[in-house]
């Protein structure tokens, strides 16, 4: 173990401790201090990612509270926004997209969607966030207006998740399936993964951190399918 490795481990542990104490400012400050020396790209890779992986694991095991998960998300948002400000074209390259995201009609659980938007922006995507309670037609209208090739729809509960089928039906009705891809996500899809196919989703991601990989893959599938928006 190198000295820097040990320092990093201690720093990650301290950031986690502050998140556990719901201390957003304290956790963000520690990452900022590292970024001041090593840059935000390094801070994201070396600190933020392991912190969020740990938080994600704990979330899966229900070993973390909503408050701790929320604070971790806000710390990630703080750091990623600072990284974006330092590198406006995106931390990981050129601006891509746009993509449209939102919560389906009757769904008001915006926490996960907010995290997805943050990670997408950090990965260089232009994100159009339509907020909560968005109808299928509104999603498709906005994607058509803006030339988005991916719509990401979130739902937390089963009854609202079923409403995502309406987005698939709307895409089918307008002959846009294949050209506009449908990403789906939210707590219920983790418990019932068969729902992805039931609502006509083209793909899902295990966590907000994995969303950029999913959206890139769906964007490429849309391009492969050909056709103009």
């Amino acid at each position: 173990m190198t000295g820097e490795g040990t320092t990093l481990q201690k720093l990650v542990a301290e950031v986690l401790r502050r998140i556990n104490d719901a201390d957003r400012d304290g956790a963000s400050r520690l990452v900022d201090q590292w970024a001041a020396v090593h840059g935000y790209g390094d801070a994201i890779a070396e600190i933020l990612e392991p912190v969020l992986r740990t938080v994600g694991d704990r979330w899966e095991r229900e070993a973390i509270s909503l408050a701790q998960g929320f604070v971790a998300g806000k710390v990630a948002e703080d750091i990623l926004n600072k990284a974006l400000a330092a590198a406006p074209k995106g931390v990981f390259g050129e601006v891509k997209g746009p993509v449209v995201i939102g919560n389906i009609e009757d769904d008001y659980h915006s926490l996960g969607r907010g995290m997805v938007g943050t990670f997408l922006r950090a990965a260089g995507w232009a994100v159009i966030d339509m907020g909560n309670d968005v109808s299928p037609a509104e999603f498709v209208d906005r994607a058509v207006e803006t030339g988005a090739r991916v719509i990401g729809v979130s739902a937390m509960m089963f009854v609202t998740a079923r409403g995502i089928r309406g987005v698939r039906d709307e895409l089918d009705r307008r002959g846009l399936s294949g050209r506009i891809m449908l990403a789906v996500g939210g707590a219920v899809f983790k418990v019932r993964p068969e729902l992805v196919a039931e609502v006509g989703g083209d793909g899902t991601a295990g966590s907000a951190m994995d969303a950029p990989v999913l959206f890139k893959s769906l964007w490429e599938r849309s391009l492969d399918a050909g056709g103009e928006q």
Binding site: E62, S65, A67, Q68, M157, V159
Partner: protein, 198 residues
């Protein structure tokens, strides 16, 4: 009373959040069905809620069961589609007492809702269950997600004005009292039972 025509073997399995309301409706002769309750804090642990509900429903085999719950765990639909079981219509307990349109209207305005039972247990809800151990962390979350709080006054307990002021201070949001009709709970059960009778 319409409920008198309902089958005698019907049993309601309800979230404990409605314990006082159902008792009051029962005393008024508006809720003729026997009720079994589960602790409302199970809402915070959907897997445990699913286990507890499944075990209870299984133990009641042979009876017609109405689940007086929202869509509070991921497999509620599967439980409610078992033979002899059904669930009232509504996304959650607040929608059940507000009605769908009013619930949607207020949610779109950024409302967070408190029912009387959770109001009495608000420290347990916010601090122990949700983990907002400081007012700062509670405010950070609540002010990002909501604009105001509605206390849904079902009329069965006095409005706890002092407690509501404490909650408003802790989370940094205005609290308003909104009267709702607990009779909607009996109506919801009655409508669910119509599905059995069709």
């Amino acid at each position: 009373m319409r409920g008198e025509t309902m089958p005698a073997d019907v049993l309601v399995v309800s979230c404990g959040i409605f314990r006082d309301e159902l008792a009051a409706l029962g005393r008024a002769g508006k809720f003729p069905w026997p009720v079994r309750f589960l602790d409302s804090m199970l809402h915070m642990e959907p897997e445990r809620l699913e286990q507890a509900l499944t075990a209870l429903v299984q133990s009641l085999a042979g009876q017609r069961i109405v689940l007086l719950f929202g869509d509070c765990q991921a497999r509620m639909d599967l439980l409610a589609s078992r033979e002899g079981a059904c669930r009232v219509k509504g996304h959650n307990c607040c929608e059940l007492v507000l009605g769908r349109e009013e619930y949607r209207r207020l949610r779109r305005e950024g409302a967070f809702f408190l029912l009387p039972e959770w109001t009495a247990r608000w420290r347990e809800v916010f601090r122990e269950r949700l983990g907002f151990v400081t007012p700062e962390s509670a405010r950070l979350f609540m002010q990002e997600m909501h604009r105001r709080i509605f206390y849904l006054d079902t009329g069965v307990v006095p409005v706890p004005a002092e407690t509501l002021a404490e909650i408003g201070c802790y989370v940094g949001l205005p609290v308003e009292v909104k009267a709702v009709a607990p009779d909607r709970l009996a109506d919801a059960v009655r409508k669910a039972l119509e599905g059995f009778n069709e």
